[in-house]
C-alpha cells in the first residue's frame, strides 16, 4: 500500500522519488516494527517558524489540507474510520504469602575462632557430637522406661537426668583412662606438692625463700629471730625433707645415683641385708618435684646393692643385685618390664653380690675420638668385669681378678698362718668398691675385703700397678677427688678414713672420729677440701681447710636408724643421706652466706 506522509517534511533530507503511475500500482510490502527509539505510531509533529524560508509552501499545503478536510464529506478519497482500543476488564486478585520470620543473630568473633575454622575444616565433628548425646539420652530414657515399670510415672525430667548421669559415668571412665588425664594429674600433684614444699625446694635450689605475707605470725618467733641473728652462725646442716614412701619403708637404702641428664632425678636402690634369705629388692626413681611418691618403681628379684645411670643413654639404669645379677632398665617408659636386659643368662656372671657398678666412658685407643661407654662391676667373687650387650642379654669379660695377697708383713717372727689357710680358701678376695680416675679412664682403684687398695689398669689384667696398704678391715669405699688430681680417699670398717696421694705408699692423712665403721664417703663436687662421710650413727662433713682432726659438721642420725649411704647434690650445697629405714633425707649445709638461717627456722 502506498504510504503517504504529506505532513512529514522538515527533517528528512532524502531526495524524493518521482512517483510514476506504475510505481503507484506496484505492491510494496512495508513492515512496521517498533525500534528502540521509534514506536509504532510515531508522528512527531513539526513546527516551522513563520519566518522560515520554506514557510510559504508549508502554509500553502496546510491550506490545501484544510480544504481537503472540509470537502471530505463528499469525497471518496477520504473515508472516515474509527478505531477502538479494547481495554480489558480489570480484575482484583489477592495473594497472601507466609510471613517471613526475621531472627536477629549476632556472634562475637574472636581471632582464635577464625583460626580454628580455617585450620580444622571438620567442624562437623562438633555437630555430630551434639547430635549423639541427645540421641544417647533418648535411648537411655527408652531403656529405662522399658525396664522400670514402677518408675513409669516418673516425670520426663527425672529420666532425662538419669540419662545424663549414665552419660556422665561413661564420660568419667573415658576420661580417667586417657593419657592426657594422667599427665594432668601428674602436673597437678606436682603443683600441690610445690605449694607444700615450696620453702624447702627453694632452699635446695638456693633461691630466696618467699615468706607468706598472710600466714599468721607466731608470737614467739619474733624473739627467736633476734636471738639467732645475734649468735654466731656455726656451720651446720639443716634437714630439708626426706624421700620416703610406704613401699620403701623398712628396707634399707643401699645406693643412690643421680641421673646424668636430668639433675632432678634420683635413683635409689633398696634392699634388706640383715637376714640371710633373699628378699626382693626395689628401685625407686624419685623426682625432686615429688618427694612423696616415686616417679618410677621397679621391683627386682633380689636386694639391690648398687646402681648407676648411664651418660650416653641417660634413661638407662644399671642395677646390681645381691644374687650377683645385673639388669639394665629403661626408666623412660612407665611399664616396669619394658626394655629390660639382664645378665642372668650369662655363664660368666657374678654369683656373689655386685657391690658396685659404674658406667665409664673409655676412649677407643685406635681412633682416640669416640667415647664408648661400658659398664663395669666389682663383685664379692673377686672379679672386676666389663659388660656389654649381646644376644638379648649381657655378657662380660673379666678385667681383673683380685687375688689374695701373701701376708708378707708378719715375716719377722710372727706366725704365718696366712699361707696355710690360703690354700684352703679360694684365691680370690671379694672386691667391695672401685673408682675410675676422673681424667684417665683406664686407671682405677679397687678396695678389697682384706683392706688393701689396688691401683689397676684396664690394659693389664694380671698385675696390679700399685697396692696401698693401711686398712686392716674391709675397705668400704674408695673415691678419687674430682677437683684435685691424684688424691683419693678411702674409708673402711676399721673406723678410719685415709687420704692418699697416688704415688705415696703411705696415706698422707688419716681421720677418725667415732668408733664405728664408716659406710660411705664422698668428695664434695664444689669444694676441693670438703668431703662427707657416713658412719652408722651420724653424718660428718669434714673440711680439711679448717680442721683435720674433727669434722666440721656432725649430724646425728634419728633414733633407731642407721645411716648407710651418702650422695652430694651437684650444683647445690645439699647432701643426701640414705638410712636403714628406707628414707633418703636431704640436708642442706648452711655456711653459705646467701641463706638466711632465720627464714628456715620459721618452717621447722
Amino acid at each position: 500500500m502506498p504510504v503517504n506522509f504529506p505532513d512529514v517534511q522538515g527533517k528528512r533530507d532524502t531526495v524524493k522519488e518521482q512517483v510514476t503511475e506504475d510505481m503507484l500500482k506496484e505492491v510494496i510490502d512495508l513492515y512496521i516494527s517498533e525500534t528502540d527509539s521509534i514506536s509504532l505510531l510515531d508522528i512527531p509533529s513539526t513546527f516551522v517558524s513563520v519566518d522560515a524560508d520554506d514557510a510559504e509552501p508549508i502554509m500553502e499545503r496546510n491550506n490545501q489540507y484544510a480544504e481537503a478536510c472540509r470537502s471530505r464529506m463528499d469525497n471518496d478519497k477520504y473515508v472516515d474510520q474509527s478505531v477502538q482500543t479494547l481495554n480489558g476488564a480489570t480484575k482484583n486478585k489477592q495473594v497472601q504469602s507466609d510471613s517471613i520470620v526475621m531472627v536477629d543473630k549476632a556472634t562475637t568473633v574472636t581471632s582464635w575462632d577464625v583460626y580454628d575454622s580455617l585450620i580444622s575444616p571438620d567442624t562437623g565433628n562438633n555437630a555430630s557430637g551434639w547430635v549423639l548425646s541427645p540421641v544417647m539420652s533418648l535411648l537411655a530414657c527408652i531403656i529405662l522406661l522399658c525396664f522400670s515399670s514402677a518408675s513409669a510415672a516418673s516425670s520426663l525430667k527425672e529420666v532425662e537426668a538419669l540419662g545424663n548421669s549414665l552419660n556422665a559415668e561413661s564420660d568419667l571412665q573415658l576420661i580417667m583412662l586417657s593419657e592426657k588425664f594422667q599427665h594432668c594429674l601428674l602436673v597437678m600433684e606436682r603443683s600441690i606438692l610445690g605449694n607444700i614444699f615450696q620453702p624447702q625446694l627453694a632452699a635446695y635450689r638456693q633461691l630466696p625463700v618467699i615468706e607468706d605475707p598472710e600466714s599468721p605470725v607466731k608470737p614467739g618467733m619474733g624473739e627467736q629471730r633476734e636471738e639467732d641473728a645475734e649468735s654466731p652462725r656455726s656451720p651446720a646442716v639443716v634437714r630439708l625433707w626426706a624421700f620416703s614412701c610406704e613401699l620403701s619403708r623398712g628396707s634399707s637404702v643401699s645406693s643412690m645415683a643421680w641421673n646424668k641428664k636430668n639433675p632432678d632425678l634420683l635413683a635409689v636402690g633398696y634392699g634388706e641385708f640383715g637376714s640371710s634369705n633373699q628378699k626382693p629388692g626395689l628401685v625407686c626413681c624419685w623426682s625432686l618435684k615429688n618427694p612423696t611418691w616415686p616417679e618410677r618403681v621397679i621391683r627386682c628379684d633380689s636386694a639391690v646393692t648398687s646402681l648407676d645411670f648411664s651418660s650416653n643413654n641417660p634413661s638407662q639404669l644399671a642395677v646390681g643385685m645381691q644374687d650377683g645379677s645385673i639388669a639394665i632398665y629403661n626408666v623412660k617408659s612407665r611399664d616396669n618390664k619394658a626394655c629390660f636386659i639382664s645378665s642372668s643368662g650369662c655363664p660368666n656372671r657374678h654369683l656373689d653380690p655386685v657391690w658396685q657398678l659404674r658406667w665409664t666412658q673409655q676412649e677407643l685407643s685406635l681412633t682416640g675420638e669416640e667415647k664408648v661407654e661400658s659398664l663395669f662391676s666389682v663383685a664379692a667373687d673377686g672379679r672386676i668385669s666389663k659388660w656389654f650387650v649381646s644376644n638379648n642379654g649381657l655378657d662380660c669379660i673379666d678385667l681383673m681378678k683380685l687375688k689374695k695377697s701373701h701376708n708378707t708383713k708378719k715375716k719377722a717372727g710372727g706366725t704365718t698362718t696366712g699361707k696355710k689357710t690360703e690354700s684352703v680358701l679360694s684365691a680370690l678376695t671379694p672386691g667391695l668398691c672401685f673408682d675410675f680416675h676422673p681424667t684417665d679412664a683406664s686407671v682405677y682403684l679397687v678396695g678389697t675385703w682384706e683392706g688393701l687398695i689396688h691401683k689397676c689398669s684396664c690394659s693389664n689384667s694380671q698385675q696390679f700397678l700399685e697396692t696401698f696398704k693401711k686398712h686392716f678391715c674391709p675397705v668400704n669405699h674408695v673415691t678419687w677427688s674430682p677437683l684435685s688430681p691424684d688424691v683419693f680417699l678411702s674409708c673402711s670398717a676399721d673406723w678410719t678414713i685415709q687420704l692418699w696421694k697416688q704415688d705415696h705408699h703411705k696415706p698422707v692423712l688419716g681421720f677418725t672420729s667415732t668408733q664405728r665403721t664408716v659406710c660411705d664417703i664422698k668428695w664434695s663436687p664444689k669444694w676441693a677440701t670438703v668431703f662427707g662421710a657416713v658412719n652408722e650413727g651420724q653424718l660428718e662433713i669434714w673440711d680439711l681447710n679448717s680442721s683435720i682432726l674433727d669434722p666440721v659438721i656432725v649430724q646425728p642420725a634419728a633414733a633407731g636408724v642407721k645411716m648407710n649411704s651418702l650422695l652430694f647434690a651437684p650444683q647445690t650445697d645439699c647432701v643426701l643421706v640414705g638410712d636403714s629405714d628406707g628414707q633418703v633425707t636431704v640436708y642442706q649445709s648452711i655456711d653459705s652466706p646467701n641463706l638466711l638461717f632465720s627464714n628456715l627456722t620459721n618452717f621447722f
Binding site: 559415668e169 573415658l174 580417667m176 592426657k180 600441690i192 606438692l193
Partner: protein, 96 residues
C-alpha cells in the same frame, strides 16, 4: 585405671587439699570429693573463668592454648587443669 585412682587418692591425702572436682565439657561435675552445693557452684563459676582465660590466651596467639590456671586467694588456692574433654579442679589450702 588403678594407678589413676591411686594418684587421685594421694592427691586427696596431701596436706591442705580441700577438694577435687572433675567437670566434663558440658559443665557437669562427674567426680567430686566436696558436697553437692559447693561442687555445683565451683563447677559453674570456674567453667566461665576457664573459658575466658582460654579465650584470652588464644586471642593473643591462636596457636597457643591454656594448659594450667592457678588462682591464689587469701584463704586457699584453686588449681585448674583444663583440657578439651574435661577440667580437673583442685582446691588447696597451702598454709596448713
Amino acid at each position: 585405671m588403678a594407678e589413676v585412682e591411686e594418684t587421685l587418692k594421694r592427691i586427696q591425702s596431701q596436706n591442705g587439699v580441700q577438694g577435687i572436682i572433675i567437670v566434663n565439657t558440658e559443665g557437669i561435675p562427674i567426680k567430686t570429693t566436696l558436697d553437692n552445693a559447693s561442687t555445683v557452684q565451683y563447677a559453674g563459676l570456674i567453667h566461665q573463668l576457664v573459658m575466658k582465660a582460654r579465650s584470652t590466651v588464644r586471642d593473643i596467639d591462636p596457636q597457643n592454648d591454656l594448659t594450667f590456671l592457678r588462682v591464689r586467694s587469701k584463704k586457699n588456692e584453686i588449681m585448674i587443669a583444663p583440657d578439651k574433654d574435661y577440667f580437673l579442679i583442685v582446691i588447696q589450702n597451702p598454709s596448713d
